[in-house]
């Protein structure tokens, strides 16, 4: 559009382009098979001399399965302004997906209680912004800055499969009609027992109880927290250059999601898992329930009284154990210095020498205090994965 003659007169606009697209996309998911599947197995029997090898039917033929489809609309603008000092690009997209494959409960008469079928629908929309520019460019100094941000939201508009309480409250979140993909729900915490410090909840039948049946598909008493995946994600990179010295600061952020805190509560602890500092705030004696919501460490008698009722597992999946997933992080800072080129030329054989000091994952500037040291980017790893390690590196680059 910048080539159109009505833009001839202005001096600040270098380029303007508008993009748009609309299309039908189809994809074949790898998770579903349309042919019959047989697997080999060894039968489960008490003694080894009774076992025999068998073949079992793992999935029936499913000739109705077809492509997952989506209508995708996209509108974008690209701008280059002020003598190419500022680049701006913006895209807005809508995606209406249909015939998505999801599991569905059948009558079971064919021999498979849940099957895959093309029946789920979902709507997504979002935008992406990228701005980059050079706000300051003088003789020995320049500042270059790049900002990118993405926003997306989703809503499952049709899904018949009924998830149970555990499916929706675990850290990965679950999928249920009317809510975003990977929505996190919580069991509603009610109070601590004034005599034992054992937590009570609104259970699967809407009553106050220390026992919640995780397999129940009655999920209306759960509280919707938010989706697990952030709606906003982005980064801001700044490069300052003064003569041969260059400094890069890169910040990342995300927001508008909730994450499940680590499942630290149990009915009994060992030397390996009793270290959470959350326990410092726990219920210790009668009356504490007015000041704290952290349950007690149970004694042997109460442990046997709650056996089979798992209130501490429920507590791990309750409204008390979620935190906001939003954060602002100093991802990397790097400082580098290149030797001046006239010095290199004198040496006769060096073409470039650069010293670099770089640090990554340095600080979490803004994050929910409830996280208590837990990394908001690593919420669903289950306790075996290491969080992002803080790294500091020094490097010398020599080119001949």
């Amino acid at each position: 559009m910048a080539n159109e003659h009505f833009f001839d007169d202005n001096t600040w606009l270098n380029q303007l382009a508008v993009r748009g697209s609309y299309g039908l996309m189809a994809s074949m998911p790898s998770t579903a098979s349309s042919s019959v599947i047989f697997y080999n197995m060894t039968t489960n029997r008490p003694y080894t001399d009774e076992m025999e090898s068998a073949i079992y039917l793992s999935a029936l033929e499913n000739s109705d399965l077809t492509w997952e489809k989506a209508y995708v609309t996209n509108i974008g603008v690209d701008l280059v302004l002020f003598n190419r000092r500022l680049d701006f690009s913006f895209d807005y997209w809508w995606r209406s997906s249909f015939d998505l494959i999801d599991r569905i409960r059948t009558s079971g008469i064919g021999g498979q209680g849940t099957k895959s079928a093309n029946y789920a629908d979902m709507k997504n929309e979002g935008f992406d912004i990228a701005v980059s520019g050079t706000p300051v460019r003088i003789k020995d100094f320049s500042w270059r800055s790049t900002f990118t941000m993405g926003y997306s939201k989703s809503k499952i508009t049709k899904a018949e499969y009924k998830p149970n309480i555990y499916n929706l409250t675990r850290s990965n979140g679950g999928n249920i009609e009317g809510y975003p993909v990977n929505s996190l729900f919580s069991i509603v915490f009610d109070h601590l027992d004034p005599n034992t410090g054992i937590p009570y909840f609104i259970d699967h039948e809407g009553n106050v109880s220390d026992y919640v049946y995780f397999q129940s598909t009655t999920t209306k008493y759960l509280k919707y927290e938010r989706q697990v995946d952030p709606k906003y994600t982005g980064g801001w990179s700044n490069t300052f250059r003064y003569k041969n010295l260059s400094l890069n600061v890169f910040l990342t952020f995300q927001g508008d999601n909730k994450i499940r805190l680590n499942p630290v509560f149990k009915e009994s602890y060992s030397d390996l898992d009793a270290f959470s500092s959350t326990f410092l705030d726990r219920w210790v004696d009668r009356g504490d329930e007015q000041y704290t919501t952290v349950p007690s460490i149970v004694d042997a008698m109460n442990q046997s009284a709650i056996s089979g009722r798992y209130p501490y597992n429920s507590y791990n999946l309750s409204t008390e154990r979620v935190a906001s997933g939003g954060f602002l992080r100093v991802k990397t800072i790097s400082l580098s210095y290149s030797l001046p080129s006239d010095l290199l030329r004198k040496s006769g054989f060096l073409s470039n020498v650069t010293f670099t000091a770089a640090g990554s994952n340095l600080w979490l500037l803004i994050a929910d205090k409830k996280l208590n040291g837990q990394d908001p980017e690593f919420y669903n790893t289950g306790g075996v994965a290491q969080p992002l390690a803080r790294q500091i590196t020094f490097a010398v680059n020599i080119g001949f």
Partner: protein, 274 residues
């Protein structure tokens, strides 16, 4: 120029003609049922992997008070009060229903696959598949529909008798009547018994429908159906020489034969001999 058209027509025809055999090969090492060995393995999976005992025990007088604080499984409570069980996990009605129909699907796949196997050794395994199919349907109809009443029309709804492999997401099934369901079970059972063959064809006979197990199932079937001549006929095949009693009342000690001179044994020998 014309030749180019001709060649461009001939070329794909030649090329595609040779593709046919190639495309018929499966691209991976998937398990297929194509000989008697794989057929026998598939039939091994055609036994329902669920029990109905835990379902019925709380509904009859086989319950006892286990004390407070162990009410984790509400199906026990619901069954005890004869309420609907909403759970779908193990020991629930839904689980039994799905497990039986899963077993039936295994039987049906075996019977379907056997049609393409040209080997007479398949006959006893097809017979086993028919008996397991009859057995699973028998468990289902005894659990989920009215029991068979001899001398009545038995017109209340039965359960769908599945003989075909399902290949679509939702297939319509008809429950028909109890009478029709029991007729189908009887048909499969009799066809199976005829061809069952010797027990040594199984690698582990005690986990399969052996001659004795099949006849015991037939005995049970006709006992439920009220055809007592058939009951005696099949029961005699299970225990050819009656009069040997086995004490199973004390579960803590191994099952042993009751002494020959035991009063009950003497009575049985005098009264049950043919």
């Amino acid at each position: 120029m014309k030749k180019i058209y001709l060649y461009s027509l001939i070329f794909p025809v030649v090329l595609l003609a040779s593709c046919n055999n190639f495309l018929d090969e499966v691209p991976d090492n998937r398990t297929e049922i194509k000989d008697v060995e794989t057929l026998a393995k598939l039939v091994t999976s055609s036994y329902p992997k669920s029990t109905y005992a835990s379902l019925f025990n709380p509904r009859i007088d086989n319950v006892s008070d286990k004390g407070n604080g162990y009410s984790t499984y509400t199906h026990n409570t619901n069954s005890f009060y004869w309420r609907d069980v909403t759970e779908t996990s193990q020991d629930s009605p839904t689980y039994l229903w799905n497990a039986c129909y899963e077993a039936i699907a295994n039987s049906n796949h075996a019977i379907q696959a056997a049609e393409k196997i040209n080997d007479d050794e398949k006959i006893p395994f097809v017979a086993e598949a028919k008996i397991t199919r009859a057995f699973s349907h028998f468990i289902l109809t005894a659990t989920f529909s009215q029991l068979y009443e001899p001398g009545t029309a038995n017109s209340s709804p039965g359960i769908p008798y599945v003989r075909e492999v399902e290949d679509v997401v939702f297939k319509k099934y008809d429950r028909r009547t109890v009478q029709a369901t029991w007729d189908d079970i009887e048909k499969d059972l009799l066809e199976g018994i005829k061809d069952l063959g010797i027990d040594s064809k199984y690698s582990v006979p005690s986990y399969h429908f052996t001659q004795a197990a099949t006849n015991a199932f037939a005995t049970r079937f006709y006992l439920y159906k009220g055809e007592y001549d058939e009951v005696i006929k099949y029961a005699s095949k299970v225990i050819p020489v009656p009069g040997v009693l086995v004490d199973v009342s004390e579960t803590s000690v191994p099952v042993y034969n009751v002494s020959e001179s035991d009063g009950a044994n003497l009575w049985a020998r005098n009264n049950f001999q043919p």
